[in-house]
Amino acid sequence: MNHDAYPDNYIRGILNSVKSIAMVGASPVNVRPSYFAFKYLAQRGYDMIPVNPGHVGKELIGKPFVASLADIGRPVDMIDIFRNSSHIMPVVEEALALDPLPKVIWMQLGARDDAAAEKAEAAGIKVVMNRCPKIEYGRLSSEISWMGVNSRTLSSKRPPAPTQGMQLSLNRTSVGGGHTAAADRAAKNKTEQS
């Protein structure tokens, strides 16, 4: 997998197939990006599990925190890692010790560890790095367009009507749209410098 630019179908396939997501580094503080993403994904129907040893005993929108992936006690489809690049490897190693293995390991916007990705991919796990699942969901459902964001998709098909209020579904067919080459280059340069 080329981790600089993912095909939309790869991301769409992941977001359409996973049902449960364990978010490592989730924060109960309601102004943190991880809180926004957690709540958004829960509202889109994903079975969300907050993982953070510092908050065991607390809840995030009603879901109890667990200390580690091993403590979840049931299979999970995707691990979403909300940690800096330097903390990725131990989480991936923990994920690789799970039975059954997760299908996807996702590293948040700003986080990237190519060695960890290689390890996970060698075990047959799909990897996404330096992306936010909330933004990708919003982009591929075109919901993010309400904020004037370039969804980089085009479609002449009538999308399914929103099911709950203004929540759009991912079942929208589209083709690649306008690209953001300059922003992608800037992100790549930043990764290479750090």
Binding site: L109, G148, R152, G165, T180, A187
Partner: protein, 426 residues
Amino acid sequence: MSDRLPGFSTLAVHAGAQPDPTTGARATPIYQTTSFVFNDADHAASLFGLQSFGNIYTRIGNPTNAVLEERVAALEGGTAALAVASGHAAQVVVMQQLLQPGDEFVAARKLYGGSINQFSQSFKSFGWNVVWADPDDIASFERAVTPRTKAIFVESIANPGGSITDIEAISTVARKAGVPLIVDNTLATPYLIKPIDHGADIVVHSLTKFLGGHGNSIGGVIVDAGTFDWSKDGKYPMLSEPRPEYHGIKLHETFGNFAFAIACRVLGLRDLGPALSPFNAFLILTGIETLPLRMQKHCDNAKAIAEFLSGHSAVASVSYAGLASDKYNQLARKYSPKGAGAVFTFSLKGGYDAGVSLVSKLTLFSHLANVGDTRSLVIHPASTTHSQLDDAAKVRSGAGPDVVRLSIGIEDKEDLIADLEQALGA
């Protein structure tokens, strides 16, 4: 088919728009409403807290305007955009995110006269201090940078003279200074020049001109290239520091490479208030669908007319970068190979009086203060758009007393040439 990169004309028609999910309407509906109902209290709270994407109130966002925003973002190759009430509103909203009172920005001296006024008069009263530099002398930008500099501002093709800016050279200065480069791309449009490909971090437009293109709607837009790191040194607290009005969230951390566009919306548009009417957004969107066709015709006509004028005995000089003899022709070939735009100036041997006489004799060209209409337009900048400048500043910005500005429309060029010929002749 997936992940093909569509061409410019496809994006001009499709980007941002899709059939309406509930009615199947294919053209973008005009959502002529002030407000949008919430699903429940929790939904309302999450929208106000910036936790969900969605519509609240048309001063902050509107679905028709959103289609326009995404379309311009796609055409410019940016991550996101924000539509506002005018080109001038776009400039205020951009600077509000970047400058604190006492800060400075460097601007090219060759700008639309209204921008020169806005920067040197209105912005001064906000404590935002402009420092002028000469786009023909890149070193003057370097010399103008101080520790308080927060941005550099240029026009890609400058109004009124039609000169072409060396965006890459100026973006190198901006990078070295650690500040974003803002490019006003109004006169070029992304059909001719895509400033982000040449190092711009923010692009602004007066949509009033070629993008809308039909002289019927005022509008403006801000495009975020997604290239600038707002958090690296604390120079941009609006983006990097916790925002008290949003429970302490940090916009750059939360919105990543489209944080600038979000800041312009949730701090700028929300608080300063220059919202674009959805009806204007609809008219401008319709205009953009034919931008590639119109812009090529504008440029082809302009070149033919510039050539005609340079051969006319009453004309002292023509300043059009599309002419091989022009000072800016090399830059035009590099930055704007499809054409050098359709706004340019020429000067008359008969000076001020000849200019006034020409304007009064033209019968197809309309005498008015705008550019970028389907119709051909003419104006005498020294007595109108640039009249507030002193004489030296008029000459410096390419609007001396003998100068006439044309904005060439998409009529038949033979008719435009005939009109100029009769008005220059007798």
